[in-house]
Amino acid sequence: MIEDLEKVLFTQSEIHQRISEVAEEISKDYEGRDLILVAVLKGAVFFLTHLAQSLRIPARIDFLGIESFSPGKALPGVVRISKDLDLAIQGLDVLIVEDIVDTGLTLRYLLNVLRERQPRSLAICTFLDKANRRLVELPVRYRCFEIPDRFVVGFGMDYDQRYRTLPCLGILKKEIYQKS
């Protein structure tokens, strides 16, 4: 699989190192508070696992599933929650854990939904950030890596359900996803 990469952006050890640093920041910021990590299925699961294991403070974990839908003749591109949280978040410090943030539209939707449940605080932690694709402002408090606007795979990021298990993060060769 590694031969399908145009370039390795971050090695396994670089990724683990960076996640540890971010986990340390979170541990300091949320010390003594009631933290809950909310991961968005499925892409964020790899990141969540490593992040949670690297925290020095206790944290609860929950999952949120979202899917796009186009009822009737509605235009595509809107999302709804397909799997809601199991835990109530009122009064808790919620940290949304995402694999990648780009335009920010979907996260904006999630923030609006979760904010109505009156958590004590609401912030975002993302493994990857394509900041130059952002359309809306978001409270991204923690980011592991800012990456260029390229097709990346590995460490949970997939193409056609492949490459997810690669321990590193790399740019996929164009001919892989453009071949006809």
Partner: protein, 351 residues
């Protein structure tokens, strides 16, 4: 990109476990060359679903409440460019949806263009001399010889126009077909046998494996194309929507509304170049302004020439107005947004 007409699949076809085997035979035929009978008999032999122009018209009518006939009265094919594009998108949508569910034999309908890059497709062209075809027409509808010849010529013209208008493709390109059969002196059974041999040799039923995710992407891409075509029609017929230049802009405006993001449409024009007298000779009006982000957004399509042109304008804007924030939003961004969260239940959805 997919669906269409333009050829290549957007995402590769992979032979992986858990996918689906799909085989497609497209049959394009000259009127009176017995192509329809060959298609019917072939479908019986192979057990594939037979898709005829009548069936496609029926589905388009049921699903989209649009009444376009694909058969006989092909002169109903819209002449106007936008309607013709919509027509082609509708046909493509219907056929692609069917193709991810069944092995197909597609009679006419531009199938040879829609599926031209599918590795699991066999494209067949059935022809016969004009006189032979006229003879077959005479037998079929009992018209006199001269009338049969006129009918043949008229049907040929309509067919050519249908493909040119809807798919912008000429029909007579031999390299488009894997197999061409002249049915003069050849019985339907013999023609079917030839096609069956080609199916075995090309192994389309053995190698036509498409992963479930690719199937989903095909359907999604189709949905977007179709939505754009339908929206273009509503833009033309609804004055309140006429502020938008195209369907992509309307889609984006509705997305912003859904996500509760305030927007303004083309609120400002930025002069980019002046002539020696100080007259503006080039300007740029980004499509949207998002006041909460203090950000301008320009939408782009898949057309590379337009993307290049817009990239250049954005670069110029950055140079002249460095304080202005602007983003180019590509069609792929829409698709990614939708596909990332596409639920597994969508796999296998039927018509």
């Amino acid at each position: 990109m997919l669906c269409g007409f333009a050829g290549a699949l957007p995402y590769g076809i992979h032979e992986i476990g858990g996918g689906r085997k799909l085989a497609i035979i497209t049959i394009s035929y000259q009127p009176g060359s017995q192509g329809e009978s060959i298609g019917q008999e072939l479908a019986g032999h192979l057990g594939y679903a037979l898709i005829t122009p009548d069936r496609v018209s029926e589905i388009i009518r049921e699903r989209y409440q649009i009444d376009y006939s694909l058969r006989g009265e092909i002169d109903q094919t819209p002449r106007e460019k936008e309607s013709a594009k919509l027509f082609a998108s509708l046909i493509s949508a219907v056929l692609t949806d069917m193709a991810v569910l069944n092995h197909l034999i597609v009679l006419e309908c531009g199938g040879q263009f829609i599926f031209r890059s599918f590795p699991n497709a066999l494209h067949v062209r059935i022809i016969a001399p004009r006189e032979t075809r006229a003879h077959n027409i005479m037998q079929e509808i009992g018209s006199p010889p001269e009338q049969a010849l006129k009918t043949i010529d008229e049907l040929d013209r309509r067919h050519e126009r249908f493909l040119r208008t809807s798919f912008r493709q000429p029909v007579n390109m031999p390299e488009r077909y894997d197999l061409s059969i002249n049915t003069k002196g050849l019985h339907v059974d013999a023609a079917v046998e030839l096609i069956l041999s080609a199916v075995r040799l090309k192994k389309i039923d053995a190698y036509g494996m498409v992963s479930s995710e690719t199937v989903e992407r095909l359907k999604l891409h189709n949905q977007i194309r179709l939505q754009r075509a339908l929206t273009n029609l509503s833009l033309k017929s609804t004055p309140s929507l006429s502020q938008f230049a195209n369907a992509s802009e309307l889609v984006f405006a509705r997305l912003l509304d859904f996500y509760g993001i305030r927007w303004e449409y083309e609120p400002r024009t930025f002069p980019l170049r002046y002539d020696e007298k100080g007259n503006i000779i080039e300007a740029f009006s980004p499509d949207f302004y998002l006041p909460d982000s203090d950000l301008y957004v320009e939408l782009t399509t898949m057309k590379q020439s337009l993307v290049t042109k817009k990239n250049r304008k954005v670069r110029l804007l950055h140079e002249i107005y460095p304080e202005i924030k602007i983003r180019l939003l590509y069609q792929k961004d829409f698709e990614d947004l939708i596909f990332k969260y596409k639920g597994p239940k969508a796999v296998g959805e039927s018509l």
